[in-house]
């Protein structure tokens, strides 16, 4: 079968080659009588103009008809600002693009070769050059200053009241760590303490770590400032929340930060898009290995009170992994049990000194 296809392809190529040869030979014979200097030249000017007009029309038509397909609804405060700037830039650039293209391809059409005409010797014009240096400079300056104001607001430090959430990227999954309802402080971490269970590398000598809890969904409160503290365990990753216009790399060895205010709950968005199954998602946008394309993390935006309820309902990491109580310094162990929600009575037996020793050995 593939042999036949192969032979067919070779045959077609051979026929094409023959056509080319014959065309050449005919051209040679014909060429003896002097004809026009550049045969078929002006077709290309026309084709360029046609290409430009058809292309621009297709561009406008497709952009208009499919608008809702390629524009994601906005679900954050700063997203409205950056999108606004995006669309201002779009209007300016599309107008410039359309005008310059039309003018250029009109020229290629209008000034196609004509033996009767001579080109105009027009080597320079200071006035023109100054005009088209200054106009783009001014337009760009306006865009820059608008952009920088927005940028500075977005990248300003998060407020004290912001809801702090830690996001951790690893090959090829995300995890989130919440500071816990008791102290609302993220505990210290140390990458050398990471093991198969302690995937955060929680440093259990820090009392803030006791009530921290892990989540495999990113829950966010609607209308409240969220401060994402982002890190990576192995290679670079990047947090991308498309509906919130949030993107920030996750870098091993340092925290990166992004603060924003979600404005629409998942339920709001389901109503707005008319899609009852709508879900916010988080993706990875920095190449991180073979599973790069699969690092999906579900995002849920709750009403503030639901968010608080959800947080209160989560079990602390320490409670889920009581074995790690032994890593807590003895003096803090009782605090740890209270903060993590491990019932003190039932666990006193489990944490008798003898047993502690046996585990730590």
């Amino acid at each position: 079968m593939s042999l036949i296809i192969g032979l067919g392809v070779i045959l077609v190529l051979f026929i094409l080659y023959l056509i080319f040869r014959i065309g050449n030979l005919v051209g040679l014979v014909k060429g003896t009588k002097k004809e026009e200097e550049h045969p078929g030249n002006n077709v290309h000017g026309l084709l360029f103009l046609l290409f430009c007009v058809v292309g621009l029309a297709a561009f406008v038509w497709y952009s208009y008809v499919n608008f809702d397909r390629y524009v994601l609804p906005i679900a954050s405060e700063h997203g409205a600002l950056t999108d606004h700037l995006f669309w201002i830039t779009m209007v300016i650039t599309v107008v410039a693009f359309g005008l310059i293209s039309l003018v250029m391809f009109w020229f290629t059409f209008k000034y196609s070769y004509d033996p009767k005409r001579k080109a105009t010797f027009f080597p320079d014009s200071h006035k023109l050059e100054i005009i088209w240096t200054i106009i783009p400079a001014i337009v760009l300056a306006l865009l820059i200053f608008r952009g920088l104001r927005v940028w500075n607001d977005i990248t300003a430090p998060a407020s004290e009241q912001a809801e702090v959430i830690e996001l951790i990227g690893q090959q090829f999954a995300w995890t989130a760590r919440y500071p816990g309802v008791k102290d609302n402080q993220l505990g210290e971490v140390n990458y050398k303490m990471i093991d198969a269970v302690n995937e955060f590398g929680l440093d259990l000598s820090d009392k803030n770590s006791f009530d921290d809890f892990k989540s495999l969904e990113l829950h966010l409160p609607k209308g409240k400032e969220v401060h994402l503290k982002i890190r990576a365990k192995d290679v670079l990753h990047s947090v991308f929340l498309p509906h919130f216009r949030v993107k920030m790399d996750a870098v091993p060895g340092m925290y990166t930060n992004f603060k924003f205010v979600p404005t629409k709950s998942t339920a709001d968005m389901r109503a707005e898009t008319g899609n009852p199954d709508f879900n916010y998602e988080m993706a990875c946008t920095e190449i991180c290995g073979k599973g790069h394309f699969s690092m999906r993390f579900l995002v849920v935006v709750d009403e503030p009170e639901d968010f608080e309820k959800w947080k209160a309902s989560q079990e602390s990491w320490l409670k889920q992994n009581p074995d790690y109580l032994v890593k807590v310094p003895a003096a803090l162990r009782e605090v740890a049990m209270i903060k993590s929600g491990i019932p003190v009575e039932s666990n006193t037996g489990a944490s008798t000194p003898t047993q502690t020793v046996s585990i730590s050995n």
Binding site: H38, T93, P123, L143, V235, L236, V251, A283, F293
Partner: protein
């Protein structure tokens, strides 16, 4: 007129007969270890074409995955072997290897070595009026280092663990840790070795280009009379010489991190159940070093093409290039600015946001000289007398790509807007148009335009035009739809998007893009056929087929080593005296003195006649002394 024609044809014969006896030395010194810049240029060109084909085929392979996900590709098994899974899919890691090698090959091996290597080498001595490069030997070394680099990079494709796969930007830790992906093993080592050799090649070439332009211009060829091609090659070489060493440093530190346990880029890493001892390094440092080359590299890729285009558009519009000084000025300005915009690739990498503000400002400034260039090209077309040679078609195509791709840079350069667009298909569309396709078109335009000078024959005009139209439309069909996909947030370097509800659309556009990519690649075979056919059987070229002013067309049709058989001609005027009012022809070559063209001289040019006379006297005097 007729007598002139006959005379020219005699010339053709004369040189043809002599051509084979011309070169002294044997096959090895004439074609392999040759120090003639023209032969080295052809070596770069052929190698570049070979790489372009590989890079192009790779892109079609991963476009198959993106455009037709789930299609059974088992028929590729005989070629790709284990990289095609048992279910007939492209292996996910191989997908990344394809993306990585496509980028590396196209940016460095095709559009840097293939473009600068070919045209800087070929045109600088011919257009400034020199017998060869300042150092023919270094020039030869430049090619052979590139060849060695190519061999190593090519070998890496056949490794069982695959070639480098961490993206052409090879960001550590991914590229530093063999346990992070299989391509970061031996494939990455070979990548780094190949790139180190590549940098050596590029520096040897660059130093030669700069020296030749500064020191070896013929009499009368002042800087203000240089064709814009030479200006572009000159600044490109300067950018390369200043920025490639930084990539070398970055690569060296990465080699240390990979092989000698240092921690320049590594810190706090837990991978494969093991906490690595490295601490205190920063992956961001690598990104700064990489983009300190990486961004100027973009201009290394595009400037030569802009130079080539300037020359071709002026010649075929039969008009002087509009705003010669502004063109030179904008190249100079772009050159300087290209060194201070690198961090716009890093707005959301965790770099200090204040730096983001600075780099937004600097980045958008660089849009101004780029815009000036576009306006000047358009004005050059205005009231011209345009001859659509294939080279001219590709040059106009370049301007169109440079416009449509450049304009999206205004979005990406603005840090606030970049947050959403960074690392999406919007970026892919942007740079493939503005630097990829535009430079590629410049390269093709150059080949079509200077083919007669390279091989003494003409390429087929019709095939060239068919090649242009398929490629031009094809490229737009490939990259224009990517803007929509990018605005919708689709991240780049994704094997598939079906894991996400958010990105679970645009299968139609992706299929269109892939189909167009296949079509565009197929059209390149028309070019390859045309090229090789014409080398051997093309129509014999005349000495100045495009009626161009610049110096290379004053050489014999088959210039030997040394370029001009007699004395190197003297230059009297700039290369853009096309359609000068009063002149008999619509072009006046650079070698025609003002004293011979009193009918077309501008007032200030008449004053130059006296200087010309003095210069000629000076020669006579010198001649008498000897």
């Amino acid at each position: 007129m007729a007598t002139v024609d006959i005379h020219k044809q005699e010339d053709v014969h004369h040189h043809d007969d002599h051509d084979h006896e011309h070169g002294h030395g044997n096959f090895w010194t004439n074609y392999i270890f040759c120090q003639d810049h023209k032969v080295i240029a052809k070596q770069f060109l052929i190698t570049g074409m070979f790489w372009a084909l590989i890079g192009g085929v790779m892109s079609v392979l991963f476009r198959l995955q993106l455009g037709f996900p789930g299609a059974n590709l088992s028929w590729l098994k005989p070629v790709l072997g284990g990289w095609i899974t048992d279910t007939g899919q492209i292996d996910t890691e191989f997908y990344l290897a394809l993306v990585t090698m496509h980028g590396t090959i196209m940016v460095f091996f095709v559009l840097t070595a293939g473009l600068s290597g070919t045209f800087s080498n070929f045109l600088i001595p011919l257009q400034v009026g020199a017998r060869d490069m300042a150092s023919g030997f270094m020039n030869m070394l430049s090619y052979w280092f590139f060849f060695l680099s190519s061999v190593i990079m090519f070998t890496s494709i056949f490794l069982s663990t695959g070639p480098a796969s961490g993206g052409w930007t090879i960001y550590p830790p991914l590229s530093a840790l063999p346990q992070a992906m299989s391509g970061s093993g031996l494939g990455m080592t070979l990548w780094l070795v190949a790139m180190a050799l590549f940098i050596v090649s590029s520096l040897l070439g660059g130093i030669n280009y700069i020296t030749t332009v500064i020191n070896m211009r013929t009499k009368g060829m002042s800087f203000s009379r240089l064709p814009l091609t030479i200006w572009a090659f000159f600044f490109t070489a300067i950018i390369g010489v200043l920025s490639f060493p930084v990539l070398f440093a970055a690569a060296l530190l990465l080699i240390f991190d990979r092989s000698f346990g240092t921690s320049f880029y590594l810190s706090d890493i837990y991978i494969n159940g093991e906490a690595l001892p490295n601490q205190g390094g920063s992956p961001i440092l690598f990104q700064h070093l990489f983009w300190f080359l990486g961004h100027p590299e973009v201009y290394i890729v595009i400037l030569p093409s802009l130079g080539i285009t300037s020359e071709i558009i002026a010649t075929n519009s039969r008009k002087p290039i509009f705003g010669y000084k502004a063109m030179v000025g904008s190249i100079l300005f772009i050159t300087i600015l290209s060194f201070v915009v690198w961090a716009h690739h890093m707005f959301v990498t965790g770099m200090n946001p204040f730096l983001g503000s600075i780099f937004t400002l600097l980045t958008l400034i660089i849009a101004v000289p780029s815009a000036v260039k576009i306006f000047n090209y358009v004005t050059t077309l205005w009231k011209g007398n345009i001859i659509f040679t294939p080279a001219m078609l590709f040059s106009i195509g370049l301007v169109s790509f440079f416009l449509s791709g450049g304009i999206t840079g205004i979005f990406l350069g603005n840090s606030a807007v970049d947050i959403q667009l960074h690392d999406t298909y919007f970026v892919v569309a942007h740079f493939h148009l503005v630097m990829g396709s535009a430079s590629f078109f410049g390269m093709l335009a150059g080949v079509y335009h200077w083919f007669p000078k390279m091989f003494g024959r003409m390429m087929d005009d019709r095939l060239g035009k068919i090649h242009f139209w398929i490629t031009f439309i094809g490229v737009y069909l490939v990259f224009f739809p990517m803007h929509y996909i990018g605005i919708a947030g689709f991240p780049r370097r994704y094997y598939s998007w079906t894991n996400f509800e958010t990105f679970n659309s645009f299968a139609d556009l992706n299929m269109l893009v892939s189909a167009a990519a296949i079509l565009t690649l197929a059209a390149q075979f028309i070019f390859l056929f045309n090229f090789f056919y014409s080398v051997f059987r093309g129509k014999k070229a005349t000495s100045n087929p495009w009626k161009s002013n610049s110096l290379e067309w004053t050489t014999p049709i088959h210039p030997g080593h040394g370029n001009w058989p007699g004395e190197i001609p003297t230059v009297y005027r700039w290369p853009y005296d096309y359609s000068k009012p009063g002149a008999k022809d619509d072009y006046i070559p650079q070698t025609v003195p003002y004293s011979e063209t009193p009918e077309s001289n501008l007032p200030h040019e008449n004053d130059l006649i006296k200087l010309e006379m003095e210069d000629n006297d000076a020669i006579v005097v010198e001649g008498n002394k000897h």
